[in-house]
Subunit: 404 residues, 2 copies
């Protein structure tokens, strides 16, 4: 991306503050009966008023037509290229449970599975064992397999049949094939290195797999083996301090988003479970940072559930809470989403997301509502999500002139 | 293009159908007297109604300011980069007559020309000899020049002075200079290799040229030599089945468009000469494919002729015929063009083309007319033509989420 060539020469520190407010999955498509999207159906006077005094537009999270997961959606909002900077599944699984994953560690997503005596996978999810049972198995493994070939093994429960594994040590590399046959009735695949550097890692994982199977033989559970997937490492990208000279903090009640923020080198503020607690946290730590990433989850959750009405109702409640943005002083504010999650589709989607850039240095346009269709008429036009950070920095006067 | 990095991991097959309707050269610029473009002057209630319930926008075929030929225009609509994936003229000529061109063959566009004893080109088109005369000359050459240096030579009549030549054999390469001096009164240029790999090809073509001149000396025709142009090979690109998991078919009454579709691996449906026959074909084969490329030629032809009124009248007739789109069931439909052909300019142009994406999963906007200026206000904004395929795939729910 051309920004990388320019940024180091023009980024500067000042005391102005930036707020990136991400309403996860806020975008929708029209309800079949009313013809209105969730945002169009909701009464959101604060966000509409903010739009009226802001530059508006829409943002493409990755590329036209591409539906992003939460990882690429946020990586783009943080100003990194979401195709170049991909976060492995194993890394996401670890970050999603606040596991202490370090730059050089190997992260793996594990599924406890039912495996027969000939290593045929008969249930890839071991009957979705209860989380409590998962915890017992994880304790058993932790006690018995602390390290292999000098590399520390850490395993954590995620939920049901899912766990996360970290390898901590030297000489590791994540280019290793997975053992998951992807279907039932097939044998576990052998774990093989995909390059020279990954031979040690493959050997360790193959031994780990054997020892887990051995341990689970005597254990009373449907879990008789482990599928090792998404073998990966933290993306090696410069964090916000290095890239933007920002002292950045994440306020997110869900672990996954804290995890992605850690990838970008943000501090993580403990913030409770609710939007009210998140906003209270924002107030409390306002003096200590110059960049604030505020993440609101439930817009996405209700979209995924296909609960159009609940998403609308939540938006109306949220609208009032967001007034804090104007009470605290930010030089630039973005309100947007990591992707759309239309309740009609019950899933993430590819539709561009509405975007507000509020700043004394932005040009207000005719848009008076924070909706997909109104923002599409705004002065910002249609941009890529990875450009938003640069507009926020510019509006906060943190970017010097490029060239003489 | 970044799409290539993402697509293999997210493309999936389902039973939903896609229609790409290309109204060749449909875009125009305003008539000097009325201030209206062809689309603005035409009464097109069906297309306007479709626009009203669709996402609208405009598409840039190649790059702003660049006027595309039919090749790049369609390559972009098929989702390939039109600058990376260029189709040689020789290839297009062969494909345009349904000639059996294979991946490794060298394809050449030939012009029979009048050439004097000193090899000066005196008429680059040999007085546009009748096609019947062309056939006799082609038969003569075919009989006498079957192969050179172990490489098989196949020559076919196109029409008037135009023919197509294929070289079939090993060790060939298309980086060879043309012999066409591009103007009359100048001598035939010598055919030279432009790289090491092309030496054999250059030698064969030089000998072919000599032998054709020799043969035509005794033949009663204005054709006394041959211009060898557009020396090229099929682009080595993945077809629709591989790239998109689509079972795709082309319905186009003109050979050139069938040819470009073959490059993209589409099946070719025999479809007659008229739009009515094309549409009847669409109905007939509807059950057998999941992607349909429907090509309408006359919008372009009338534009090239500078016949503003005929283009308007044809659009009005066409409008009613296109109702078939809504009678058959498609999950996503694009109506657009490969480029503009303003009657005012009597040629292709660089102007972005109007675009409709119709789907239950697309967001309708305020646009209520299928015209250049109204579509420019649509929610899709201005995109590149090569992105259209991805929107069609997304709206037909054929793209999985990218990243977790």
């Amino acid at each position: 991306m051309d920004y990388e060539k320019i940024l180091p020469g023009i980024i500067k520190k000042n005391d102005k503050k930036i707020l990136l407010a991400v309403l996860d999955g806020v975008g929708g498509i029209p309800h079949k009966e009313t013809g209105k999207t969730e945002l169009e159906a909701a009464n959101t006077p604060f966000l509409d008023g903010l739009a009226a005094e802001s530059s508006c537009g829409t943002a493409i999270p990755v590329l036209n037509g591409i539906t992003p997961g939460s990882g690429p959606g946020h990586i783009a909002l943080f100003g990194y290229d979401p195709v170049e900077t991909q976060i492995g599944r194993g890394v996401l699984e670890c970050l999603g449970i606040d596991a202490p994953l370090e730059k050089e560690d190997i992260a793996i997503r594990g599924n406890f599975a039912t495996v027969d005596g000939r290593r045929i996978v008969t249930d890839r999810r071991a009957g979705r064992i209860p989380t409590e049972e998962n915890r017992k198995i994880v304790a058993l493994i932790s006690e018995n397999i602390r390290e292999i070939s000098g590399v520390k093994i850490e395993i954590r429960t995620v939920k049901e049949h899912r766990c996360a594994i970290m390898l901590k040590g030297s000489g590791l590399s994540p280019c290793v094939s997975e053992n998951d046959p992807q279907k039932e009735g097939a044998p576990l695949k052998s774990i093989t290195p995909l390059d020279k550097q990954s031979e040690k890692t493959a050997k360790i994982l193959a031994e780990f797999e054997d020892r887990v199977i051995e341990l689970l033989k005597k254990h009373d559970s449907k879990a008789k083996g482990i599928l090792l997937r998404g073998i990966s490492r933290l993306p090696q990208i410069p964090g916000f301090a290095e890239k933007y000279k920002l002292n950045a903090v994440c306020i997110a009640s869900y672990p996954m988003y804290r995890g992605v923020s850690k990838v970008a080198g943000m501090d993580i503020a403990p913030c409770g479970e609710t939007v009210d607690e998140e906003i209270e946290t924002l107030r409390e730590i306002y003096g200590r940072y110059d960049f604030f990433f505020l993440h609101v989850k439930k817009t996405d959750s209700y979209g995924e559930d296909g609960n159009f009405g609940a998403k609308v109702k939540f938006l109306e409640e949220l609208d009032n809470k967001l007034r804090v943005m104007k009470n605290l002083k930010f030089e630039s504010i973005a309100v947007t989403a990591d992707h759309s999650t239309p309740a009609v589709l019950k899933s993430h989607s590819w539709h561009p997301v509405p975007l507000i850039i509020n700043s004394p240095n932005a040009i207000p346009d005719d848009v008076k509502k924070f909706t997909e269709r109104e923002c599409a008429k705004g002065i910002l036009g249609r941009i890529y999500s990875k450009e938003i950070m640069y507009l926020l920095l510019a509006c906060a006067l943190k970017l010097d002139k490029f060239g003489a």
